[in-house]
Each structure stands twice: as C-alpha cells, then as structure tokens.
C-alpha cells in the first residue's frame, strides 16, 4: 500500500524545474508583450532598449526607446500588476467561499467600480492632480464602496450563514449598482462610447504613473493574501470544523474580504472590468500545485499576471492599429479554456 502512495497518488508538487519553466514562460510572455503592438519590434530591438535603459548601453533608436520604455513597458507592467491582483483575489475569495466559482467580482467590486467610473466620465470630473486620473480614482473608491456595502448588507441577515450571505448580498448589490450605471448611461448617451470601452477593460494610454498608484495597493493585497494562506487551508474543512480547530472564522472573513477587495479594486481602477482572469488564475494554479493556499495564492497571482499581460499584448496587436478591449480577449481565450478545464475530471475541487 505504501508503494501506491509513493507511486503517484500524491498530487505532484511543482519542483524547481516546474518553477523554472513557469518563470521562463513568464519572462518570454513579458518580452513578447513588449514586441507586440501597433508597431511590431524585433525581440533584439526590445532587448537593446532594456539594455540601454538599465545598463546604459548605446546604439538604440530613440523611437524604439519611446515605444518600449514609455509606452509598452509601463503598460505591460500595469497589466501584470492588475492580473496578479485579480489572480490572488480570486484565490482568496474561492478559499473563503469554499467555492471554485467565486471570483474577485463576487463582492460587487465590478459594479461599484463601473459606477465610480461612469460618474467620473459623465460628470467630466478631473482630480486636478497629475498622479491619478478621476476615472481611476472614482472606480477605485466605487469598487471598495460596493464591497463595503456588500459586507454590511450581509450582516443584516441572521438566517443564513454569514459567508453565504456575503455571496448573496454580492449578487444583489451588484445587480442594483449595475442598474444604477445603466440608468446614468441612459440619460447621458453621449458618453456611451467611453463608458462601453471602460467597462470592457483596457490598458490603452496608461503609463508609469498608473503603475505607481496601482502597484503599492496590489502589492499590499498580495502580501495580505499570503498571510491568509494557512487559515484558508484550515477553512477547507468547513466553517464549523475550522472553528473547532481554533480558527476565528469571522476574523478570517473580514480580512479575506478586505484583502480581496483591495486587490480587485486596484485592478479595475488600473484596467477596467477585465473578466475571467481572477477565475482562471486560481483554477490553473490549483491544477498544478494543488489546493494548499501557500502555493496556490502566489501561483494564481503569477498566472493572472501572465494571462492579462498576454491578453493586453494581443488586444493591441491583432487588429492594429485598432485596439480591442482587453476584456474581449480574456473572455475569448478564457471561456473555452475554462470549459476545457471543467471537462477534465481532476479539478482539485469537491463541487
């Protein structure tokens, strides 16, 4: 019997080789995203620019520097940051809800962010400061506001378990706020175009200042998520059992909602409502490293980053010079891949 256990019934753990492959893939995806765009650049040219900027090497075209360093690098990094935040948030919320169908938007974050963005667009608000735009700021506040509202609304119900109440309140608040958004847009159809594009997500026109505002929040959320890894593992056995094992489930719930909302809010503020990344990241990761959160959360963040970076590179290059909303690309890639995953038997889940 022992031989059986050793011969492969144990879920394979990702060794050094696996992590190296993943790391190299990420780097390649990153370099690829710098090559792709309305103007394609040779990988060598991209490397030269990076060499020039990082190590002071000479002999590069100024125009290449502008494209790679000013436009694409910042944009790719921003997509990576947003993707990582979505991946980690998705893993945390799936762990909290003990449900592989949960995603970073389960807490009403997307609807709240849309409301904020729509208000900023329709009212033509300007923040008056250079480091953050009104749409970004308002969508961030809207996202956190909606998730706070969901948390408060869930507390009102005493009949169902607090965690289930969170999911239900998320759906209710989400629909209500989405209706508000639709109502505002109905009366301001001149802004329909910009609202439409914002809601489908995209990193067009983003730069270093956006990286500088999004990255710290996303990093904070990711670090917080890692602290929750052990308690989320204990929660796998169910809330009541986790309580008997010494876990303060209510505290975990608060921290998980806070962490995941911050991450999701930073992502939607950076790139709009990008679907599927926060759902796919954890699923991919779970298939490779299994369900324990100390490995699942970082890998889910890494997958989210690579996915969104790649999707953004495709969005700006497949129909160049026209730029596709990145949400279309993630859905086009994500939905079939997700269905394929679901058709496989071993999901590492119990639903």
């Amino acid at each position: 019997m022992k031989i059986f256990a050793r011969a492969g019934l144990r879920r394979p753990r990702l060794g050094a080789l696996g992590y190296s492959v993943l790391g190299i893939t990420s780097v390649l995806a990153f370099l690829g995203s710098l090559c792709l765009g309305s103007v394609s650049l040779a990988p060598l040219e991209v490397l030269k620019v990076l060499g020039a900027k990082l190590f002071g090497l000479a002999g590069v075209e100024p125009i290449s520097v502008a494209i790679v360093w000013q436009l694409r690098l910042a944009r790719s990094l921003l997509a990576a940051v947003a993707g990582a935040a979505l991946g980690a948030s998705g893993a945390v919320l799936q762990g909290l809800f003990r449900n592989p169908l949960a995603d970073p938007y389960s807490m009403g974050v997307s609807a709240g962010a849309s409301l904020g963005a729509v208000i900023a667009i329709v009212a033509g608000i300007s923040t008056g400061v250079s480091f953050i735009g009104a749409v970004e700021l308002f969508s961030f506040i809207g996202a956190l506001g909606a998730s706070f509202l969901v948390y408060i609304a869930a507390r009102v119900s005493r009949r169902i378990s607090p965690t289930a109440a969170l999911l239900l309140a998320g759906a209710a608040v989400g629909s209500f706020v989405s209706a508000l958004v639709a109502l505002i847009v109905t009366f301001n159809d001149k802004d329909l175009h910009s609202v439409f594009y914002w809601m489908l997500g995209g990193f067009g026109g983003k730069g270093w200042k956006d990286v500088a505002t999004a990255a710290p929040v996303a990093a904070f959320s990711l670090a917080g998520a890692l602290f929750l890894a052990r308690p989320l593992d204990v929660l796998a056995a169910g809330e009541e059992t986790a309580g008997t094992l010494g876990l303060d489930v209510a505290l975990l719930r608060r921290l998980a909602v806070l962490t995941a909302s911050l991450g999701a809010a930073s992502a939607v503020a950076a790139g709009g409502v990008v679907g599927f990344v926060g759902l796919l990241g954890p699923h991919f990761a779970r298939m490779i490293v299994g369900p324990l959160h100390r490995r699942l959360i970082p890998l889910s963040a890494a997958f989210g980053a690579v996915l969104l970076m790649t999707a953004d590179a495709l969005a700006r290059s497949v129909a160049a010079p026209l730029e596709l909303p990145v949400g279309i690309v993630t859905a086009f890639i994500g939905a079939p891949v997700f269905l394929h995953l679901l058709s496989r038997t071993d999901q590492g889940t119990n639903v």
Partner: protein, 314 residues
C-alpha cells in the same frame, strides 16, 4: 491500527500555555465542590453547571444540565434523535452562547470559563469532532490532518518538521499511513472518518468530544475506534462521544449520559442506565436487556414482540 501511544513533545510546556490574560479571573466555587486551584485533586476536566442552551426564537435545546467529564474516563452521550446531543457538544466546546449556566474546562494548570476563551484557546483545550464534514478541496490526507496543529501554532508559526512527525504519528495510530498522499475527496466514508479522527489526535487536547465517531464505520473499525477512545482515556484524557447504538455505549463507556428533550434523564454507569424501564421512558421503544454472553456489559436488543403489537401504519 497500532495501539494509541501519546505523542511526546520536547516543548510541551510551551505548547500548553494559553495566551495570558484569558483565564477566568477569580472563578467561584465549582460544581464539583472543588476550587479551580485544586487542579491536582479534582477528577473533572470539564464541568457543565446548570447549562441552558438554545437558538434564538426557539425553545431551549438544552435546559438545566449539570455534569462533569472525568479525566481518564469515557462518557457516552445517548438519547433519541433531536434530544440535543450535538447541541450539547457544541455548547461544551464553547461554540454557542449560553442562556444560563457555564462550562468550566481545566488543563493541567488552570481552570477556564470556556465562553471567555478565544477560538484558538478553546481549541487548545477541547477537541470537537463533528458528525460529518466535507472538504471543499482535494487536499492530500497528510495536509488535512496537519490542520489539527492550527490551534497550537496559530496563523503564523509553523514547524514543518514537527508537523510532519506528529501527522505521521496520528496516521499510524489510526492505521491509515498508506492514505497519506491521497486527496481527502477520494476516500470512502469510513476512511475519511479515520482521517478526521487522526486530525483530532494531532490537535491533542486533554478533552475530546466526538459526535457519532462510529457512524460510517464497518464493524472492525467501530471496534478499533472504541478501543482508541479507551486508550485515550487510559492516557489521561477526558473523552465523551455520542452514539446511537446502545451496545457500543455499553461496551466502551465508563459512564452514560442519557438525554431526552434537552434534559438529562439519567447519568451513571452503563449497568445502571441501560435498563428497559429507563430506555422505554426516553426512547419510547421496548427493549430487552440481558447480560452480554461475556457477562461483562449489558446487552440491548429491540423487543421483537413490540413490533407485532404496534397497529398498522398504512
């Protein structure tokens, strides 16, 4: 299954100390008549005093219940469906607000009012095993069992070497070392049951409350589980388990607590409690009790004649 042997740790002292400031300040006289300071002399690891428990807006599920759980003894909690066994265990583990009364628990050095302890400290004094649970994810058995260390370690500290050692010990004690790498979602009901009890061994508290530990188990593993409960008691732990099969209660328990409608109907040695009159009174079922052929314990069977005397239901 190998016989249960306590897991000896070098840092046990550090392990057992609860977070400071959480012990009951100046606790009054206990039900046993002893004082909290009599840790060395009192036989009780857990005491319920005039316990009343209920869920909001409903009649109390447990009312006015007082009893003590002794170190080194196994207590069987029996009673009809809905008599309050699970609620009693939840209340004893400090998971429910009490309408009246209190629950006192002792480790080797102190006495605590369980409602005043943090979730983590409760779990360092009392292990409660639920009647059923389901894992959300396909966690490998060894990792699932390791969760029993959470109460001792908390959110941040984790000693992988010690965890691996203790997990291996518990899996071996339950005879399921060969399952170590299997996902818990792929086990049979009985295998999963033993995984859950292995996790309880890893939690390693002085007080254990097990809700229907023999459910889902085949005959051999029922016997081995009862043996484990007796071994745990022999190692100085206070063990309570709920059970429907009165013969299992009769075999394994040093004492029996009979519940009906949330009240204690009887408490005492199996021979004194498991009589036709008391059982008829609590369950409404007619039984025949004779001595087990071995002569050691009462043997209970349903009275076949009773079936004939019942009127037609349909």
């Amino acid at each position: 299954m190998s016989p249960y042997k306590p897991f000896i740790e070098t840092n046990q002292g550090k392990d057992k100390a609860l977070e400071p400031g959480l012990a009951t300040a100046n606790p009054p006289i206990l039900a046993s008549g002893g004082r909290p300071s009599d840790i060395a002399t009192t036989p009780y690891a857990l005491e319920a005093e005039a316990l009343s428990v209920g869920y909001p807006g409903r009649d109390p599920v447990i009312s006015g219940l007082s009893f003590g759980l002794k170190r080194g003894k196994v207590l069987a909690v029996i009673g009809p469906n809905g008599s309050g066994k699970t609620t009693l265990f939840r209340a004893l583990a400090g998971e429910l607000p009490l309408e009246a009364g209190r629950v006192l628990v002792r480790n080797k050095r102190d006495c605590y009012d369980i409602r005043r302890l943090s979730a983590r400290n409760k779990a360092r004094l009392v292990t409660r095993v639920l009647q059923s649970e389901q894992s959300a994810w396909a966690v490998p058995v060894a990792d699932y069992v390791q969760a029993g260390l959470f109460a001792a370690e908390g959110w941040f500290s984790h000693d992988p070497a010690r965890a691996a050692k203790k997990t291996a010990w518990a899996l071996d004690a339950m005879g399921i070392s060969f399952l170590s790498g299997r996902p818990v979602t792929e086990l049979s009901g009985g295998e999963f049951r033993r995984v859950v009890i292995a996790r309880a061994l890893v939690q390693d508290t002085d007080i254990l409350l097990l809700d229907e530990p023999t459910a889902d188990l085949d005959l051999e593993h029922q016997m081995e589980t009862l043996k484990l409960l007796l071994d745990l008691a022999k190692a100085g732990k206070a063990v309570a388990f709920s059970v429907h099969d009165l013969n299992l209660a009769s075999m394994a328990a040093n004492e029996v607590l009979l519940l009906a409608h949330g009240r204690m109907v009887a408490f005492g040695k199996p021979k004194a409690i498991l009589t036709p009159a008391i059982i008829k009174n609590a369950y409404g079922a007619r039984v025949i009790v004779d001595n087990h052929p071995s002569g050691a314990v009462p043997h209970i069977i349903l009275d076949p004649e009773w079936l004939q005397t019942q009127g037609d239901r349909i």
